[in-house]
């Protein structure tokens, strides 16, 4: 789960990690008032669920409150497109107004999960700032990594090792040691899958400050952090993705016109791969879960049909233990409720396949059944083309 920069900074501040003075605002007038409170000169930062804002104009310095107002007015309601958002961008609904800081040096600092060693990993670099990924790719020796032993946890000496590797000395180095230990404490307490400070700066006056912050929570741990539900900003998510999440369905909107419903993420990805191979364009990724139920299947189908780009639906359920007649009932229920006359291809495997197929064929829906993944994908692409040709001919006649 993603949260905004200002929320991450509030959490970190609670762990004695120093952050710039700042306030969040939801209107341009508020931005202006907050700017006045900060003495006029301030940084105006768009709050979206993606990085790379700086280069996209999402972070700007204002020299007086009126200018902050102007900048905010332009940012609000704008869709910010960064390398991490996709081409459609993300709407700016909240803005963080912060004091400006006299930056001495910039560093990169994070705690993340290292899959290879199956441990949390402390990462730091003296080459912090907006180009950190290029640094990682071109000169990996400038990135320092320390694996954290789950028995001992992160120890002061390790934090000191990293602080010195970053070139910090004396009092600032010891401040950094404390900051790193606090980050780790936060990571465990809050079940973070990522805490990233980029940049961490040493100000010209010699103080450490987290100028930007990003926190991701482990989705699997949400059951023990009820407070996180209120932190979610739904304006940053696709409406259909929100309704899907309510039913525990993984849904991602894509650009094509063939709605897809599959059980299991791996099979769902493979299904999209086959559709593309056969000349189709998937409208979404949708995983109903390994052991889909009738209710979930019906709900997933409704969500797919709510997307107006969808012109055909491909269902691929490899249930195995699940009964196909039950899945078929779920599909029929949702399709009939939504008065769906779009072409549908259903590929099912599991028990009671014949009964499931019979139900679908007698349903009166525009549906075909398939036995294999490949022929299912071919069928839906053909049906879609046929529907398009029919529509064109209909128009000519009309």
């Amino acid at each position: 789960m993603n949260i905004h920069e200002y929320q991450a900074k509030e959490i970190l501040n609670g762990y004695d990690v120093p952050v710039p003075r700042g306030r969040v605002a939801v209107t341009a007038d508020q931005v202006e008032r907050k700017a006045k409170m900060l003495g006029g000169r301030c940084v105006v930062k768009a709050q979206i669920y993606a990085g790379g804002r700086g280069k996209a104009g999402g972070v700007q310095v204002a020299y007086h409150p009126e200018q902050a107002h102007e900048i905010a007015k332009e940012m609000f309601g704008k869709r910010l497109v960064t390398p991490q958002t996709g081409p459609e961008g993300l709407k700016v609904r909240r803005i963080l107004v912060e004091e400006t800081v006299e930056v001495g040096r910039e560093y990169y600092l994070s705690i993340a999960l290292d899959r290879q060693s199956s441990r949390y990993c402390l990462i730091g670099s003296a080459a912090g700032g907006v180009n950190i990924e290029e640094v990682a790719a071109s000169s990996p020796e400038k990135i320092h990594k320390l694996l954290i032993d789950p028995y001992t946890g992160l120890r002061s000496y390790q934090a000191r090792k990293l602080a010195h590797a970053l070139g910090l000395e004396g009092g600032v180095a010891e401040d950094c040691v404390q900051l790193i230990l606090n980050l780790y404490r936060c990571c465990l307490d809050k079940d973070c899958s990522l805490i990233e400070i980029n940049p961490l700066v040493v100000t010209k006056a010699g103080w450490l400050l987290a100028l930007d912050a990003k926190i991701n929570f482990d989705d699997n741990a949400l059951f023990r952090h009820w407070e996180y539900h209120e932190m979610q900003d739904y304006s940053q998510m696709e409406p259909l993705e929100i309704s899907a999440a309510k039913f525990d369905l993984a849904y991602i909107k894509l650009d094509g016109n063939i709605g897809c419903m599959v059980n299991g993420a791996g099979l769902a990805m493979a299904t999209l791969d086959v559709l593309k191979e056969k000349g189709g364009e998937p409208a979404n990724f949708l995983d109903v879960g390994g052991g889909a139920t009738r209710e979930k299947v019906a709900e997933a189908f409704r969500i797919i049909l709510q997307d107006s780009d969808v012109k055909a639906v491909f269902v691929n359920i490899f249930g195995g233990i699940m009964r196909c007649d039950v899945i078929a009932q779920g599909i029929i229920e949702a399709a009939s409720d939504s008065h769906c006359d779009l072409p549908i291809v259903v590929r099912m495997d599991g028990s009671q396949v014949a009964e499931g197929k019979a139900l679908l064929e007698q349903s009166g829906l525009n549906v075909q059944c398939a036995d294999f993944l490949g022929d299912g994908a071919e069928k839906i692409v053909t049906m879609l083309q046929q529907a398009a040709t029919d529509a064109a001919q209909g128009q000519e006649r009309g």
Partner: protein, 291 residues
Amino acid sequence: MAILINQETRVIVQGITGKTGLFHTRECRAYGTRIVGGVTPGKGGIHVEGIPVFDTMEEAVRVTGGTVSMIFVPPPGAADAVLEACDAGVELVVCITEGVPVKDMVLARQVVADSKTLLIGPNCPGLITPGQCKIGIMPGYIHKPGKIGVVSRSGTLTYEAVKQLTDAGLGQSTCVGIGGDPIIGMKFIDVLERFNADPDTEGVLMIGEIGGSAEEEAAAWIQQNMKKPVAAFIAGVTAPPGKRMGHAGAIISGGKGRAEDKIAALTQCGVCVASSPTRMGVAMLEALGRA
């Protein structure tokens, strides 16, 4: 011979009295698996389906002589169940539970790694030696005894792969679903090592997907050590470069994780990579030189 489990394997089910645990206990037993006991704290002393239930793993192991545990305990207690099974000294723990917090698994995996117990999962379909023993939630009927080892990060995509093998006339020695979570017990290489040493396995089909670098690591290992033909499929070739987790993901993986990278790495190391998910069975035949 197969790997890890066979018809002699004695299985204890942790979370046996829950709805899912009980359902799959029945399914596994119907397949022929020897389920010798179950554990649900607070329900010790009862029997379900004629299977004795215990309060603790220690007692269950002592009384039944079970050597493998299958876990259906819900996420808040799943890591604890893994630790308990490990402490009770079982040889293999298969954790089916989906949604176990990462923090819990980081510690549990380390404890398991330092013991003689092996862990499969969490968030996995389990493993099966066709015709002998099924420990997991996969449909038994798609499998057929034979000589192909299957190892996969995915759940239902593994079923698709197995069905294609069976349809192509290729039976399986053992199929292992290692799970798709960031922190898991046995990884590709741990399973490949065992297939390599198993006289009854002639070739291996490996199913991967985008993200992480486990496939690249496996590719390097295969080139160095594998004596048997390997075919593979990587799901997600057409996945859009979607939601990313800050910079740290990219920095850790060092540019790995995309399907192209994985396919290139595997191909370079002599693995026959299926060009389409409809050709997994065919790719295995090709790797065996029988296409």
